[in-house]
Symmetry: C2
Subunit: 190 residues, 2 copies
């Protein structure tokens, strides 16, 4: 039951922070959404900052777990698997009416310059997401789908940049135009 | 003198909002930095929101004016001119110790989902920046430097996404690693 409470706080908190940002989210709002008393929150989290840091791990674990399932879909070519992964992320954004964008990207914009503890945690989170992308690219090379000459980590970095930027564009355009361009042009990068 | 005062408010305000974000910037801080009384601020700006919206135009005009000078440097090929433009932006970021990133991208993350007036203004700002990039690409096509088959606006969109994403990465990595990859791999996209 205790584990469920913590999970519920993270689940509800994740939705609020995703849309409102870290600073604009009050602990009271999280308590209300998760339907728990204040003491419960502080049982699991030392502070709002501690909550924010654990939230980053929560977001990352969710994305990596989903990425893992796409990596395993051997009925598709590795590059198609990578596109399936991005298309799942794009679909999530569409379902949210193009709000939110990347929770890690948002927190990076908001906290990257002003909180060193968050900055380090976010840098680590970005590395994990890029490592996930690199695994699709490596498989594509192993199966001869793309050139073995391509620098795997550099390419993963560029693909990640493109996707992050397309998500920012989505947030102000409120449509999937830039994400669709990213999807269609992905093979030009890889 | 009046024009100077407004310019100074925008100049000082731009620096603060760039690093702190819109919500965390208080009018008091801007008054202090620009060394003006409160009445002066409200003579030029109806509200903090009005200031924020005019600030977006201020940022855009600065970037477009600089872009124009790079477009005119006919001693370089069009793609090299585009790289020079990005390298100027990267150099600005290095000088700021990799803080700040893109002021328009930051405001998009912060306000794109919660303020419709800002969202529209930012969408328009993104369009102007992408139009600037498209002009370099069109010249490159006209001079035969790149394929005439390439969809100009789509390519500009993708290049813009990549650069925006690389700037987010810069903010958490506090180095130019992803920006350097963007610069080196730009020709793969175009």
């Amino acid at each position: 039951m205790k584990a469920d409470t913590k999970g519920r706080i993270l689940y509800e908190g994740a939705k609020i922070v995703h849309l409102m940002g870290y600073h604009k989210t009050g602990i009271q709002e999280i308590l209300r959404a998760a339907d728990i008393p204040k003491g419960s929150f502080y049982f699991y989290f030392k502070s709002k900052e501690d909550f924010g840091l654990q939230l980053i791990s929560y977001y990352i674990e969710k994305i990596l777990a989903r990425g893992e399932t796409f990596l395993e879909q051997k009925e598709f070519s590795p590059i198609q698997r990578l596109r399936n992964h991005f298309n799942w992320l794009i679909y999530q954004s569409e379902r949210q009416e193009f709000k939110g964008g990347c929770p890690i990207g948002n927190l990076s914009q908001e906290l990257g310059d002003i909180n060193e503890v968050f900055r380090e945690k976010l840098d680590e989170a970005f590395s994990k997401l890029k490592h996930l992308i690199s695994r699709f690219i490596k498989e594509a090379q192993a199966e001869g789908e793309i050139s073995a000459e391509l620098g795997v980590m550099e390419t993963a970095d560029l693909v990640f940049s493109c996707f992050q930027g397309a998500l920012i564009q989505m947030k102000v355009a409120k449509n999937a135009h830039s994400l669709d361009i990213f999807d269609r042009m992905l093979t030009r990068i890889i």
